[in-house]
């Protein structure tokens, strides 16, 4: 199919030689933008799950001077749990076990068997009732009145801001993809129009011999498909090592705070289909451009 002989001398058509390069660049950026968008989506899902229905209360095991607070710690924990369980909207409040703490600290401290020497606070994991509005500021103030050493982790607040930022970036990614589609289409239109001008005598000849518009359009479609596919596959070849490198770097972060896009079920089909999507987009654009041009002929 790709070697179909063309009656139009595209081989001398230097005006269109930049098309594969443009498509290569577009597909490269589109793959990175899609990977970024899908990674963001996955991370957002993860973050949304993290903040929905839970918060953490810390009880320090050492005072500010670094002296251990001994039995006072457990008393504070018990009072905090008692207070929280009485508060409307709170379903569960449990102290994290040593094992859970070890798992939590693993990304930062590694595989430490015993970290009792470290001045780590005790943590109380609080589960909120679903769809029950809780005033966190008020809850924080009341808790600090009853147990002055307790501090409520307000990560929900900054995570919400981070989610808003990520949502914004996601919208920008979508916009980038739309711009890429627009730029690719404009590039194909420009390249096709230049080619139509270069091959005007040959096109007129085919037309005069009784070639239907579709006969000429198909020749342009094949030419555009061949060039876009070459460019698209080159873009894919360039993007793959970049994605793999970024994924490897992200995976090293551990803890799952940022997730990669590879885990998404449609990630690889999307990545591998992009050169073909770009080629079909180019072919459709070229076909329509030539068809509209030929309509001017008698």
């Amino acid at each position: 199919m790709l070697s179909r002989k063309s009656e139009l001398p595209f081989v001398y058509d230097s005006s269109s030689l930049f098309l594969p390069w443009m498509v290569m660049l577009m597909v490269f950026i589109a793959i990175l933008a899609s990977a970024g968008g899908m990674a963001l989506n996955s991370t957002l899902h993860h973050w949304n799950r993290a903040i929905s229905g839970s918060l953490t209360v810390q009880i320090p095991t050492h005072d500010r001077a670094g002296v251990t607070r001994g039995k006072q710690v457990q008393k504070d924990i018990d009072r905090t749990i008692e207070f929280l369980l009485k508060t409307p909207g709170i379903e569960k409040a449990e102290q994290l076990s040593k094992d859970q703490m070890r798992k939590l600290m693993d990304p930062w401290l590694g595989d430490l068997d015993d970290f009792s020497d470290l001045p780590l606070p005790e943590l109380i994991d609080v589960t909120l009732k679903k769809d029950y509005p809780v005033n966190f500021e008020e809850l924080k103030e009341k808790l600090e009145e009853i147990v002055p050493s307790a501090s409520m982790d307000m990560h929900r607040v900054w995570l919400e801001r981070l989610i808003a930022l990520a949502e914004g970036i996601k919208k920008i990614t979508t916009l980038v993809l739309l711009l890429l589609i627009l730029t690719t289409s404009l590039t194909v239109i420009y390249s096709t129009r230049s080619s139509l001008a270069v091959h005007k005598p040959a096109i007129e000849l085919l037309h005069m011999m009784g070639a239907k518009d579709s006969y000429i359009c198909v020749q342009y479609a094949f030419r555009t498909f061949r060039m876009s596919l070459i460019g698209g596959l080159a873009g894919l070849a360039l993007a793959l090592p970049v994605i793999i490198t970024i994924s490897t770097l992200v995976a090293q972060l551990k803890g799952g705070f940022i997730t990669t896009a590879q885990g998404q079920p449609f990630f690889w089909p999307v990545v591998f289909s992009l050169p073909f999507v770009a080629s079909f987009l180019s072919v459709a654009t070229a076909y329509i451009t030539v068809s509209r041009h030929l309509k001017k002929f008698l």
Partner: protein, 247 residues
């Protein structure tokens, strides 16, 4: 050549009060009235700039008349839907003055072009194109690129391309301008052969020896106006009287 049947038409071409001007310029053709009967053969004569190429361009549907009515193969062109025009064009073979060959293709592919456009099968194309190229004396150049051929050879390729489809109407614009007298006569004999098979032929030429030798009736243009002149009795003239009927 593929044995394409030529349908019977009342008239191959009919021009009634046709005028042609390019953009807002002066009329290059004025009040053209004539008709081409099926199976006729005519010379189209006139000085340079008289409008021969413009008249031919109206006949091969490259231009629309500024006024008047053109009918080709009994179809009024002004009313014909655009989709129908390619099928009308496929019935017309044209030999252009400047050949208009596709230089990146071989002799074979240039001659095969009208058949490929018409969707003829490749096996049939190979058979007919090979035969015709041999007949015009270019068997040795069948796979040569056009750029390697001489002017005369290019002209023969252009003629072969125009007749390969056995058109119902053959229009030739100075088809013998680049060949010697002997070859010119041989090429004209090819047109006569086609004419005998039913093709209507119009040959634009300046060559007085050819006009006199063959004696076909003439469509003579002078300052954009057309006169139909009778042919002289000649063994080559199929039906010299028909132009007189038109007058």
């Amino acid at each position: 050549m593929p044995q394409q049947k030529i349908k019977k038409y009342t008239q191959i071409a009919s021009f009634e009060g046709v005028g042609l001007r390019y953009n807002n310029g002066p009329e290059v053709l004025r009040d053209i009235h004539f008709s081409l009967e099926p199976g006729s053969i005519h010379f189209l004569t006139g000085e340079s700039g008289a409008g021969k190429t413009s008249l031919l361009s109206l006949m091969y549907l490259d231009n629309r008349p500024s006024r008047g009515h053109v009918r080709l193969f009994d179809t009024p062109i002004e009313g014909a839907p655009r989709k129908q025009l390619p099928f009308i064009r496929r019935k017309i073979g044209v030999v252009f003055q400047d050949f208009r060959l596709l230089e990146h293709l071989s002799t074979f592919d240039n001659v095969a072009l009208p058949l490929r456009i018409a969707g003829v099968k490749e096996a049939e194309i190979r058979r007919h194109v090979g035969e015709l190229i041999k007949w015009v004396g270019l068997a040795g150049q069948i796979n040569s690129k056009i750029t390697t051929l001489s002017g005369g050879q290019k002209q023969r390729v252009a003629i072969a391309r125009a007749v390969i489809n056995r058109p119902a109407l053959l229009l030739a614009d100075e088809p013998t301008g680049n060949v010697d007298d002997e070859l010119a006569k041989r090429l004209l004999h090819l047109f006569i052969e086609l004419n005998k098979l039913g093709t209507t032929v119009v040959i634009a030429t300046h060559s007085e020896p050819l006009i006199h030798h063959f004696g076909f009736p003439r469509l003579h243009l002078e300052q954009g106006r057309l006169q139909v002149l009778p042919g002289v009795t000649s063994p080559f003239c199929v039906n010299p009287m028909e132009s007189e009927k038109e007058e």
